[in-house]
Symmetry: C2
Subunit: 429 residues, 2 copies
């Protein structure tokens, strides 16, 4: 088969999962079953204030697992914040290394734990492992230790993926570290921990799920890449029958419960669906990849001026990740529609719960997205988070740096195409 | 949450997968990436004769991985055959232990490799690890080594599961060993290796997939069990949203391609769908469980007299696993129908590719199964493989020993219920 010009093979992986209300109370048992006796628990100040990290600590103690707590994870990790976390972990470890990690938080916490795990086992500098061409793209030098991920938002799906995303401050660019050994050893997914999330956070995090599902579902099919050598296979395969399954199921759950989770935050059924939707989408996009909306999100977040989202206690200007990924999604999926009309129509139908529509096929997915975003209070477009026509060139330039993502788009994306997408996205309604 | 009377938590796991035509040619890279340098390749005489195990050996050698070959795996493993495989592995290893295993074959080969992996790492006797009450039900004493599974039939899904099934000859009972550490480290799923399977083997193996999907889909819901303590969680959770997803997708692939795979064995599209269907069903039932049809299959296979299936080179009387699981399926699903009519109707619709039907809801799944079984040449019932009304009591007695499976049935199953199922299954058409 080695003489095939195009790809015939894809890879897929996901961590074992324990799911359900009350799952987090069993974490002492699960950590000790992995042979771990001394862990570092990582969290951020907001989660620490809820008492959840302390509860996890108590459960570990009850199971005879020794632990230390690092509760200063930075929201949206940077190279500086990751180095600080690694230094703190080294200091907290003292003479004896930790033999495992527990991440209690959203994507920022789980990604920080991945980086701390990698660097405290393999050594070297952070940039050695960051994806090329930004970093050295090296593989870990030693096996990582078990990382148990306890997501506290229904959003990033980082508990399922082998990727850590970070801002490189000096270069003003967002990049990542991707390697199968970064994948958590176990995902403990407990919808009870999301009951108190504010509506604005539920809305933005949920749009991240929507984009993961839609982008992986519409990603370039794995069979359309040139054939890879075994050693040159990439983390992002393109869409495939396994990621399609997860994406479809995730969209159906979103259709059923996303609006309700925002409007009635204490509805455990809706929260449970959203938690599953996030994990399912992670199991899909973590293997298939994401493309244009995520690539556009990087400069939208990175170039923020003074936007402060309602419902977030942001100490500095920021565009929440789930907002930044969704603002260009309607235009992006109008742009990708011709590559597979049937698939876009099906995605629209799933996202709208099969609602009947008279819209032209190309309009259906953008319209379903806009209807959802309006209902849950997402900003109306790139203009609403502080950008104007004059910023389009800079936004395009920042997006073009994300070639690893744009490579998974189902058609070639030029600077002009991106400028069109950003201009159409200034106001989605 | 510990005061909840019923279960709210389920667990799920599946191995990483490399899928597609040509995947097996990359096995040298994949084995060495797992840090394995010296492996035992296990296969059976039939596969060895096709040259596939030798091809795997060449690929390992080219990647600098040392290997030995054990090609005497017994079809339908027994305690004796597993002990023989363990002894052979010890002898082939010599002074230095193998640091990994590659199983090239159907469920028998993959299950044998699981047992060899367990016993050559943990020591002790086979019966120490066999599920209670037949065996000691002990957990492995040491970590297992990486096992890479290369399935050569689209059927058992053993490449996805943490279970090894065996006949205990002295006790005339079938049992198993279940532990997460038995799960393969990687499944290499290559539909090209199934192109030459005879139609009868394709048909029987495929019915195993159908039963995995239907039994896990109709299994008792995880939420209907009494709440487990963390340390008392079982491998078979009951049906849950993750196993449902895999089962539904598997049934859709079966509907699209099973008949074609039997009738036109060289159709790579159909073979690819069946290979995915088998792996998907394994990812589902390996966590949810199977129930009545699989429980009934154990005595049907164990009590065989002189049935020799057409299309198999059987040296002794035997009922292929895929035949034995399907013969009681129509009656079993008529019996389970009242527990969840909507789910049974949906399963029938998926299995029949959405074909319109005037049948009463309770008849739809039995009718869809019978239509499929007739089309692909499965025996017409328990009578066609050599049993009569006089055997029903003994078959019921044998089935009742499979409490681990019957426990996952969606309603209580009495001896009288089973007698009714067997009597209805003497002739399905």
């Amino acid at each position: 088969m080695t003489d095939l010009l195009t790809e015939s093979v894809f890879t897929w992986g996901a961590p074992p999962m324990k799911y359900g209300p009350g799952a987090v109370d069993e974490i002492g048992f699960d950590v000790s079953r992995l042979g771990v006796r001394r862990v570092l628990v990582l969290t951020d100040p907001r989660i620490a204030a809820t008492g959840l990290a302390a509860r996890v600590g108590e459960a570990l103690k009850a199971a005879g697992v020794d632990h230390a707590l690092y509760d200063q994870v930075h929201c949206e990790p940077t190279d500086d914040s990751l180095r600080a976390a690694v230094a703190a972990a080294t200091e907290l470890a003292g003479a004896e290394d930790f033999d495992g990690f527990v991440a209690v938080g959203g994507g920022s916490v789980i990604d920080t734990a991945k980086a701390v795990n990698l660097l405290s086992t393999s050594g070297g500098d952070l940039m050695d492992y960051v994806n090329k061409p930004v970093g050295g793209g090296q593989a870990p030098r030693k096996p990582t230790k078990p990382l148990i991920a306890v997501p506290t938002t229904a959003g990033t799906g980082s508990e399922s993926t082998p990727v850590c995303v970070l801002d490189i401050l000096g270069l003003k660019v967002k990049s990542g570290i991707s390697h199968p050994s970064l994948r958590p050893a176990l995902a403990v997914v407990d919808p009870l921990v999301t009951l108190s999330l504010p509506a604005a956070v539920t809305a933005a995090s949920g749009m991240d799920i929507v984009c993961h599902a839609l982008e992986s579902y519409t990603a370039r099919p794995y069979t359309s890449f040139l054939r890879h050598a075994a050693e040159a296979r990439v983390a992002y395969n393109g869409s495939n029958p396994v990621s399609d399954t997860w994406a479809e199921k995730s969209l159906a759950l979103i259709a059923r419960s996303f609006r309700r989770a925002v409007l009635v935050g204490t509805d455990l059924g809706a929260r449970s669906d959203m938690m599953l939707a996030a994990t399912f989408a992670g199991m899909g996009f973590g293997n298939a990849g994401v493309h244009i909306p995520h690539a556009c999100a990087y400069p939208i977040a990175g170039m923020v001026r003074d936007y402060r989202p309602a419902g977030y206690d942001a100490e500095e200007a920021m565009v929440p990740h789930g907002q930044s990924v969704s603002l260009t999604a309607p235009a992006a999926f109008r742009f990708t529609f011709p590559t597979d009309p049937e698939r876009h129509v099906r995605a629209a139908s799933l996202l709208s719960g099969g609602a009947p529509t008279d819209a032209a096929p190309a309009d259906r997915l953008p319209e379903a997205l806009v209807a959802l975003m309006r209902d849950i209070g997402i900003p109306s477009g790139v203009a609403a988070v502080g950008f104007g026509s004059d910023d389009v060139d800079a936004l395009v330039e920042g997006t073009l740096k994300q070639q690893r993502l744009l490579n998974v788009a189902p058609r070639e994306v030029t600077a002009e195409d991106l400028a069109g997408i950003f201009r159409s996205s200034l106001e989605n309604w």
